[in-house]
Amino acid sequence: MPILGIIASSKLTAVPSSYESIATVTVGSGGSASISFTSIPSTYTHLQVRGIARSNRSSATQDWYELTFNSTSTGYSAHDLGGDGSSAFAAATTNATYIELSKCATSTSGTNVFSAIVIDVLDYGNTNKYKTVRSLGGLDMNGSGTIAFDSGNWRDTSAINTLTIDAGNGTGFLQYTQFALYGIKGA
């Protein structure tokens, strides 16, 4: 068995030199109603949000995320393709007040269980395009869980300068939830 450690060879894939951390939000012991990244600089081509989360929803073991831009609540739609461990599913939302992304852990998901998600926001600064999003997210609870691949659209040509994530059914996120925003530069 090769033991690579941190001194392995380096002849393979090039590391993106234009992938930069913009900001990180970590939820403290009091929880947080929502996650917002404001004053996002326009110097990148794409954005990526990476996180782990747990909403305060107590009525179910899973919740969803609600993604909005520039504090606007119109013009969103989304498609959701996923699996719950026994069946595949697909769903869509139109003319919504947010982009629905799957799935978020909740206060009843089990001790220490957090969902994970990676969200890509393409050409966020372009003022000639509606904005398109995709995400891969889910959680597993050793006997139940969901994996989902989502896409979303915001029918607005404005450059995105604020990105907000809310809990779907819950009213906020619990401690240790963390989202990090990254910018990816074009050539």
Binding site: P2, I3, G5, I6, L12, G82, G83, A180
Partner: protein, 175 residues
């Protein structure tokens, strides 16, 4: 701002092995990303990952969505000894030039508070177990709050990964 997406280690197999280990992983990053381009030994070589040498307990579980070329379905693994990514497609084996593409995101790997959740995507082209290839999306959990300091990658059914299979691990550092 400094670049925050850094390569930690990489290797390309010069001989068939049962598993590859990344050890002494620094806790200075926020997330880890592994890109594994893998050729299996024969039918049913599905990728498995395990952390900190914990490869014999029952601390892992996963939920998977997969498409075989004709069927979309979902399946689950509970109380497994290793984290199973991929369910029945396996890595390709029938053609010496054919390798499967596997990308794994291991979120917040170094905190000592939460169980660890990983997201995976796998594409096994023609030549896998089904003969038609398979596409998998998966989420897995390791029911352990320990910071991850080592990662092993192998395939199930006591098979090996073949010459030319490559593995690269990256660290992503949040602000």
């Amino acid at each position: 701002m400094a670049s925050t997406y850094e390569k930690i280690a990489t290797t390309t197999l010069g001989s068939a092995v049962a598993s590859v280990s990344f050890t002494s992983i620094s806790g200075t990053y926020t997330d880890l990303v592994i890109i594994a381009n893998v050729q299996g030994q024969s039918n049913g070589c599905n990728i498995q990952i395990w952390f900190n040498g914990d490869g014999s307990s029952t601390n892992y579980s996963s939920s998977t969505l997969y498409y075989t070329g004709s069927t979309v379905a979902s399946t689950r693994n509970s109380n497994t000894a290793k984290l199973n990514f991929g369910t029945n497609g396996g890595q390709p084996f029938a053609n010496a030039n054919q390798f499967g593409l596997n990308i794994y995101n291991i979120q917040n790997y170094s905190n000592s508070t939460t169980y660890k959740t990983a997201l995976g995507t796998s594409r096994s082209p023609n030549g896998g177990y089904t003969g038609a290839g398979e596409f998998d999306l998966a989420v897995g959990m390791w029911r352990n709050t320990a910071a991850i300091t080592s990662i092993d990658i192998g395939v199930d059914n006591s098979k090996t990964m073949q010459i030319g299979s490559s593995f690269t691990i990256y660290g992503i550092k949040a602000a």
